[in-house]
Amino acid sequence: MSTVATSQIKLTPERHRASVRSRLQDALPKIVLAPSFAITIVFVYGFILWTIYLSFTNSKTFPSYVITGSRAYQRLWGWTFDTDPPSSWYTSITNMGIFGFLYIAICLALGLFLAILLDQKIRGEGVLRPIYLYPMALSFIVTGVAWKWFLDPGLGLEQTLHQWGWTSFHFDWIKNKDFVIYTVVIAGVWQASGFIMAMFLAGLRGIDGEIMKAAQIDGATTFQLYRRIVIPLLRPIFLSAFIVLAHLAIKSYDLVVALTSGGPGGSAWLPSNFMYEYTFKRNEMAVGSASAVIMLMTIVAIIVPYLYSELREKPR
């Protein structure tokens, strides 16, 4: 399509008169795009470089622009092995690992499972789908209020089950520094799994019915049908869903704030919370910037190959 579009511009008669006016006309599309592009270059890429620069200074409360070397990274590196007592950074990256893995895995599994169930010619699908999906429309600052309450041992689930007679029931993860990150997983899965379900459902609806029929005629059981034929066909959806979930996981910030306020002693922190706290509250700007750079690099490692292949595959 690109060749078509450029050649058509060249065909227009005005092109031959190289007057200022027509040259301006030719440049107009680029002039229109320029502000947005410039904004992106300055405020995204320029700012990223700025953050990288700051991470090599000794900025504390205010930015300092004297390069002092990789001290911030060395400190983060040192903290990575500070396990007794765990440093905030160690806690943050360990939590990222636990949260990232469980969040992505459970969302994918649950999303696929629900999509397959919903794809069984269900009456009332039109009612169920929006119910599964609405959490994505709400801010976690909002639903965190309810989750916090629900998970609170003195008020929520534990209390309710005690009232119903199950007095030995014990569920205090949200107050427990070793388990608080799992409550973040529960709430995160609750928020995103419906959307992943919608992605898989769209994928399932796109599969050619003839293939399914042929397999059934060949005597494949339903389980075999999904295991051998449907799930392999959904591979592109798995990839897209993984990309979406991975970058949501790394960006997760308000989830932790709303649900746990950081957890007991910062035990629920993710790197995003670490960055915010160190930069704006603990006056360790260089360390905060270094942690932001590490977050960014993680995203780059995941997203750039994906975008490259997406934009490459279909040259239009």
């Binding site: 450029t6 107009l28 995203i299």
Partner: protein, 314 residues
């Protein structure tokens, strides 16, 4: 028929297995529906209860005597930090921030998408790729420089205020947030419009060009009238994202009267003086949720489409 139950042969299983399968499927679906609805349900019922009923009753029970007082209090009286004038001011702050930010970013996205698909030039894919990647960056990596720049602009605004008499909005937290959301939103809006216009017949544009229509004439007369669906998607997506934003809001308008709704709500909930009024908290949360919830109920289809466009690109 289902993937959950044991892979029973249809021939040997017969009607009974089929019925059991259906019951299991519907049962599971209903169970998950409860899981997803539970927080909203708890929020809703609690916001209509008295504190007395909350302390002595069951959290899942509907209110015995529904009361609107928590809603009234949340809207007009509850304390956000030290000021006790309810959340209504912050609600309007959010509206004042969201509306211009959505309109500007959507318009820019439409123009960008138009240029990137119908007026392609060398390097257009690179330009698009660079703008697209901006959608995925963790905003922590730009948070601090932006704070520095906004701070400088604010000081410049004060100077202008003193010398010329107006700051031109420089340093105003709402203006700042509109700017920030436009800057970090155009990646998404450009993506939406670019994907939509990609499928739009180029022949129409070509024909109009032959007839001598200018760049903007084509955009106004041909592209815009055919863009309604993607406008709806983009506006809903942007509205939801910007309304729900917490990171930028707390970094650039985290204190004072200009706080957006999300920050104010977080403050209400975490104010630890005196007895925690759960019913008022829940009512405040419901009020904060209403705009996006309303949009979702009215136009959920488009919302989903927007999310999908953000996920499955081309």
């Amino acid at each position: 028929m289902s993937a959950v139950t044991t892979p029973a042969r249809q021939a040997s299983g017969g009607v009974n297995v089929k019925i059991i399968n259906r019951i299991v499927i519907y049962g599971l679906l209903a169970l998950f529906a409860l899981f997803y609805l539970m927080p909203l349900f708890v929020m809703l019922v609690t916001s209509f209860k008295t504190m007395d009923e909350i302390q002595n009753g069951n959290m899942l029970a509907p209110p015995r005597v529904p009361t609107f007082d928590p809603w009234v209090k949340a809207w007009g009286e509850t304390c956000v930090g030290l000021t006790c004038a309810g959340i209504k001011g912050y609600f309007w702050n959010s509206i004042k921030m969201v509306v211009p930010a959505v309109l500007i970013s959507t318009m820019l996205g439409a123009l960008n998408g138009y240029v990137l698909t119908k007026w392609r030039f060398r390097g257009a894919t690179l330009v698009f790729g660079l703008m697209l990647f901006a959608c995925f960056i963790p905003f922590q990596s730009v948070l601090l420089p932006m704070a520095t720049i906004l701070g400088s602009l604010g000081r410049f605004g004060v100077t202008l205020q003193n010398s010329v008499g107006t700051s031109f909005g420089l340093g105003n937290p709402t203006v700042n947030l509109v700017f920030v959301h436009v800057v970090y939103g155009i990646g998404f809006t450009t993506l939406f419009f670019r994907n939509y216009y990609e499928a739009f017949p180029t022949e129409l544009v070509k024909a109009a060009q032959v007839d001598g229509a200018s760049f903007f004439q084509i955009f106004r007369r041909i592209m815009l009238p055919n863009s309604m669906p993607i406008f709806v998607v983009t506006v809903i997506y942007q509205f939801t994202n910007i309304w729900n934003d917490f990171l930028f809001a707390s970094a650039y308008a985290g204190t004072g009267d200009a706080m957006p709704m999300t920050v104010a709500l977080n403050n209400v909930v975490n104010t630890s003086t005196g007895v925690v009024e759960y019913n008022v908290n829940m009512a405040a949360a419901m009020i904060a949720a209403l705009p996006t919830l309303l949009i979702y109920v009215l136009a959920g289809r488009y919302f989903v489409r927007g999310l999908m466009a953000g996920a499955v690109k081309g």
